[in-house]
């Protein structure tokens, strides 16, 4: 290890220690300090990994990483950046947490969630054994400009030999990453439409052929641009998945049919997650675990250890039962609403919408959420909006046809727990990134006090 990296490592640890004694742990400051002093520290630490898995993509990274970690860590120790610290300093903090004072990694296998824009910066010095791309959907516009740019970053981060790429074959944009690769590319996808999904007017960024610009023809949509597609000019089409999935909503079982192994294994896994987009995450994690040599039996054992990360349909037990879900873009929000439709009872629905940099300062995406489609199946008693852009969300609801007298706008995030405490009905809280952790804290406290 470089001297400079060593100094960086010590300074980072000193910062962490100082924060700990002043009672302010859990920030990304140690990683930031170490990274500033020692730009190659992350490289020097990652070079020691004997096995590295990177999970990236627009939506579902955190849940997929948590699921895969549960499968992998069943038999041996793995490192992970739990909770979505997926930029350079977050990755550094994760690696530093297990290194000795002399900079040796104690755990040499890692499954890491990596932000799409950070990916090519990492793969410039480290090639993982497996890279998993969940999907390529529209993200915050002012962060990336356009979807084309995200795709370009992902291409750069996946186009080199020796790494297995696992990606969503039902998503034309994610699938396109595999076209120019011949070896070590695997697709997962659903072989059965999980429910009636046709005629949904969700945002479809990938609905055009990337090669000729022609509108793609779909046999069916599952969510967003994800479904069974083909270019009318024959440039590309949904591939037959190497890992095919069928989800049975009644038994909550995911049936996996493999065509990648010689013996064409078929097995069922009990799903611990809600909503079709999360069944995709589960199928993705299973595919990666299988490529890494884990047996279905190990996966079944590992799934018991799965805990929903903060705000990924995180349930706070109590009266009322409150569920916290992160929303950061229209496709993700539509998926969360669809998962809520599985609960056909009366409910209270809250939106906590902030517009800090990490949320996306442009909230025009709220108007791409398909509230109109959700409304007749919402069974929603009260709608509560809060956050710095709570009023924008309230207007979105009003123009979607929600009765204005049922919309309640709260000035402060902190009022949300008290405001919902009188209900017996289940409460769902959809929150953007910067409101998520404060809400999670408030809900934890609110529940223990109540």
């Amino acid at each position: 290890m470089r001297i400079r990296s060593m100094i960086g490592l010590w300074l980072g640890r000193a910062t962490k220690f100082a924060l700990k004694i002043s009672g302010r742990s859990g920030t990304s400051l140690p990683g930031l300090v170490a990274g500033k002093v020692a730009p190659h520290l992350l490289q020097d630490l990652m070079a020691q990994l004997t096995e590295g898995v990177i999970v990236t993509g627009t939506n579902g990274k955190t849940t997929t990483t948590a699921l895969l970690y549960a499968f992998l860590s069943e038999e041996e120790s793995w490192l992970t950046n739990r909770g979505g610290a997926n930029l350079h300093q977050g990755l550094l903090a994760t690696m530093m947490s297990t290194s000795t004072l002399s900079g040796k990694l104690r755990i040499r296998k890692a499954v890491l969630e990596v932000d799409e824009a950070t990916l090519p910066k990492i793969t410039a010095f480290y090639h993982p054994s497996v890279i998993l791309v969940t999907n390529v959907l529209r993200d915050q516009l002012d962060r990336y400009g356009e979807v084309d740019e995200t795709l370009h970053l992902l291409k750069e981060g996946t186009e080199y030999p020796g790494t297995s790429l696992i990606t969503n074959g039902d998503d034309p944009l994610a699938m396109s990453l595999g076209i120019s690769r011949s070896e070590l590319t695997y697709y997962y996808g659903f072989t059965q439409v999980p429910e009636v999904t046709s005629a949904r007017a969700d945002v479809r960024d990938g609905a055009f052929c990337l090669l000729c610009g022609e509108e793609l023809i779909y046999d069916y949509f599952i969510y967003g641009q994800v479904g069974a597609y083909h270019c009318p000019n024959g440039h590309f089409q949904r591939p037959v998945p190497d890992f095919g999935g069928k989800y049975d909503g009644a038994t909550k079982q995911l049936l996996v049919e493999e065509s990648v192994s010689k013996d064409n294994q078929v097995y069922a896994i009990a799903s611990p997650v809600k909503g079709i987009f999360n069944q995709y995450n589960l199928l993705a994690a299973i595919s990666a675990a299988r490529i890494l040599g884990k047996s279905p039996a190990t996966i079944r054992k590992g799934i018991v250890n799965y805990e929903a990360p903060t705000g990924r349909f995180q349930v706070f037990v109590g009266t009322p039962l409150r569920t916290l879900a992160l929303v950061k873009n229209p496709t993700g929000a539509n998926s969360v609403l669809r998962a809520m439709e599985e609960d056909a009872g009366e409910k209270v629905l809250c939106f906590a919408i902030n517009d800090d940099d990490a949320d996306g300062r442009d909230v025009s995406w709220l108007w791409d959420i398909n509230i109109e489609e959700f409304l007749p199946r919402s069974f929603c008693e009260t709608w509560i909006c809060t956050g710095t852009r709570g009023l924008d969300m309230a207007l979105r609801l009003a123009y979607a046809g929600v009765d204005r007298s049922k919309i309640n706008v709260l000035d402060k995030l902190s009022q949300l727990v008290e405001e919902t405490s009188g209900y017996v009905l289940p409460v769902y809280i959809l929150s953007t990134y910067t409101a998520l952790h404060p809400l999670s804290e408030l809900l934890r406290k609110g529940v223990t006090n109540g």
Binding site: L141, D142, G145, E146, V147, D148, V203, A207, G213, E215, R361, D362, V363, S364, W365, L366, W367, D368, T388, L391, D392, A394, L395, R396, A398, Y399, A400, R404, I407, V409
Partner: protein, 245 residues
Amino acid sequence: MARTLRLVHLFPELLNLYADQGNLSVLSTRAKQRGIEVKILPVKLGTKLDFDQADLVLLGGGSDREQAIVGKELLAYRQDLLSAIDLGLPILAVCGGYQLLGEFYELPSGEKVPGLHLIDMTTHAGKNRLIGNIAIEWNTNAQGAVRTLVGFENHGGRTMHDYPPLGKVVKGFGNNGTDQKEGVQYKGIVGTYIHGPLLPKNPHLADHLIRNALRYRGYSDDLGDLDDRLEWEAHHSILNRMQIG
């Protein structure tokens, strides 16, 4: 007499980057609440366009790739559009759709993409994107307590023209970040970089567009009041956050 308005949404499958259907939803909801019958006519690429069948046209924003496709498609209808504009056809053009009204717009690569040249306006590529909340003072004779328009802008282009602007920049960048002008108002055209989308928090501008469409169709432009408390609260909360007023 029952009034009917036909709202033509151009190429929603391509131009919908900044949630332009939000603007459409506001126009149609506010018209319907006044007892006006609304027909929304989404026009897909390759469909024959007839501007005699439109009382208000919406041209939204898309990515550079999508905008180029739209430009080519509309070029064939340039004469039709010019005649309709002369008669006062109301057009709301946002972001990329706004740029398309001019002679050309320049891509970051330096390539100049021809526009429809419906008005004398050019757009050059800037070094950086102009991004953030924006508030302008609306250039209008319309009566009403509120004269500001608020929203969000995100554009790389610097647009120049000599027409009356939609408004004067109070905070934000506007057409080019230098001359304090935002958007354009010429005959029935309202062009702007403001999205967010534009109309939900600016109900006075939404009603102005509806009135223009009613007059264009030869109807009375009477519009009753609506309960806009939520709209104004949202409008003023942006002004407060920008420390205006």
